[in-house]
């Protein structure tokens, strides 16, 4: 297949389920479980889940695209990080490999990368990554007008009425996160990990990297979780020690001498109950976070959302029990989508 032959895939059905594929095995699992679309990235800094043991070689991408296409599913390639000056070629090469592999769209954030793909691969479909932090109709239109972006992945900071309003003012599709890790900072504008570890979320695709994580149990049974030597949280002997993500840690402030969740509690986003409202607001595609998750996680989440979307399409109510069960026993949130008070 030559470089200019990105087939104009049909993305027209609303309620599209966009599912994470951290590995080829997870991709097959997601497709088999009913994903309309899967998203994935290469094993390097060109995508925002550049974690050890995750992601695809060019060969794996090619065979995975074939697997998905044979089953009617689409593949999105995440090229959603920001190349630092001098390293742009890695992102350009990744786009060329994606074209040759037959991916159905690219997910981009950097204007230089978007422009390169728009000019070099004019048939390519571009989705604007949440990492671009386009949270107004004007910002979204900027990317649509200049790079032909066909879909925006909205930041997780908008209420449903705000999403409806945005939809009425933009010429492209909307994709929103509905399940998984609940990022607190504006994506693409966070250097917290780089401040503590020397690896950048924007430039290296890394967030709170596992290699810098340590847990230390004290004599009294309490546990400290650290990132690059900084204590992100400490846990009583009967508490579950969470992963030390900087924006989910507990800190003290002058007037808050007991540790408190200064940014957010370790909590998952679950918009299962809101799917009909989101569709009514004009959301075209639902994104499930979790390229770092296991195959069994991907299977159960994708199946539950598949059933929910199918029943909505059939004019019925989604089976909420399934979706609620996914986060049973864990803290879950509807985040900003439900109310402005979240802010």
């Amino acid at each position: 297949m030559t470089d200019t032959e990105m087939t104009d895939t049909d993305f027209s059905t609303a309620g599209e389920l966009v599912c994470p594929a951290g590995t080829p095995a997870a991709l097959r699992t997601a497709v088999d479980a009913g994903a309309d679309t899967v998203y994935c990235g290469f094993r390097d800094a060109t995508n925002a889940r550049n974690f050890p043991g995750l992601n695809f070689t060019p060969e794996e991408l090619q065979s995975s695209v074939a697997y998905a296409h044979a089953r009617g599913a689409r593949v999105l390639l995440a090229l959603n990080t920001y190349p630092p000056a001098g390293k742009v070629a890695l992102w350009r090469d990744a786009a060329a490999i994606g074209m040759r592999s037959g991916v159905d769209a690219f997910i981009v954030a950097d204007m230089g990368v978007a422009r390169h793909i728009a000019e070099t691969h004019p048939g390519a479909r571009l989705h604007l990554s949440v990492q671009a932090a386009a949270s107004s109709p004007e910002a979204i239109r900027y990317y649509c007008q200049n790079f032909g972006v066909r879909r925006v992945v909205l930041p997780r900071i908008l209420t449903i009425p705000e999403i409806r309003k945005i939809k009425s003012e933009i010429p492209c599709e909307i994709e929103t996160f509905v399940f998984g890790n609940h990022g607190l900072m504006v994506e693409g504008r966070c250097s917290l990990t780089n401040w503590l570890t020397g690896l950048s979320t924007n430039m290296d695709g890394v967030c709170s990297p596992a290699a810098d994580v340590t847990y230390e149990r004290a004599a009294d049974g309490s546990m400290r979780s650290r990132l690059a030597g900084f204590t992100i949280d400490s846990f009583a002997p009967d508490e579950n020690a969470g992963y030390p993500t900087i924006c989910k840690g507990r800190y003290t402030a002058p007037h808050r001498t007991e540790g408190f969740y200064a940014f957010e509690e370790p909590i998952s986003l679950n918009l299962g109950r809101m799917l009909p409202d989101l569709m009514a607001a004009g959301v075209h595609a639902f994104k499930i976070e979790g390229r770092q998750r296991s195959k069994s996680y991907v299977r159960s989440v994708v199946r539950a959302f598949r059933r929910a979307v199918d029943s909505i399409r059939a004019g019925g109510e989604p089976d909420l029990a399934d979706l609620v069960a996914l986060t049973e026993g864990q803290k879950e949130t509807q985040g900003a989508f439900q109310t402005k008070k979240w802010r």
Binding site: P83, A85, K87, D110, E138, A139, S191, N194, F230
Partner: protein, 303 residues
Amino acid sequence: MELTLGPIAYHWPAERKRDFYAAIADEAPVGTVYLGEVICSKRAPFFERELPATIDRLRRAGKRVVLCTLAEVMLPRERQATAGLAALDDPEIEINNAAGLLAREGRPHRIGPFLNAYNEATMAWLAEQGATHVCLPTEMPSEAIAIAAQAGRDLGVGVEVQVFGRAPLAVSARCYHARAHGRTKDNCQFICEADPDGMPLTTRDGQPILRVNGIQTQSESYVELLQELPAIAAMGVSHARLLPQDVDMVAVCGVFADRIAGRIEAAEAQGRLAEVCSGRGFSNGFFHGAAGYRRIQAAAATG
């Protein structure tokens, strides 16, 4: 290389801002002063009345004045504020959000550090669309800065790097100042005004780590690139940005000006800065491609 004074990130009272800029106008050896609220749209009205007089005051003192747009644009008032600034041709504007680029419609403007111009391809695109000047993201390492500076020269675009002040590390839709006080953003009662240098966050082991400034998260320590200034100038970076902190900023500007002019060595400059910023820690890790909080003594960077 010219010194600039970046926008005030904090919610200082209007009188304090007015007095601050009067002192900057009279005494600070900086060529360009960036004004405007970049962090929180709720704060902007407080200084609006003072703005024309402040612009005038700075200009009469020979400073170039640039108005900055918000980093985050989501609410109607934020969209309106951005469009309003983008409509101005005088003074110059610095754009921090793509919404501002749309409204600017290709007329000349500067690119702020929140717009994510990380590389030569993005800089070339922005320059074609009217950008005359780019402030690089604070987290960029020296190798990338050098290439961006070269690209800036090739494109005829000014390139600016933050050399002093807390590193801007993140923004959010949520106000962490309000949250820490059990309030929401809509009902914040401007509690952030109580922390003119940000609200310190400390780890549960007692180690200071971050600062909260409304919706923004900053570093605890100040970025300080006094030692690296000659190397930065040699790369072709055209402007060095000082971010206002709750210290004697006229004195800070003086230290950096003396260092840029080669009147003092790095060690003397650092000694003077430490006196001015008594009690604050300093970092230069980002520049050296290391964890941002680190302070690295780089022999190669002296000069």
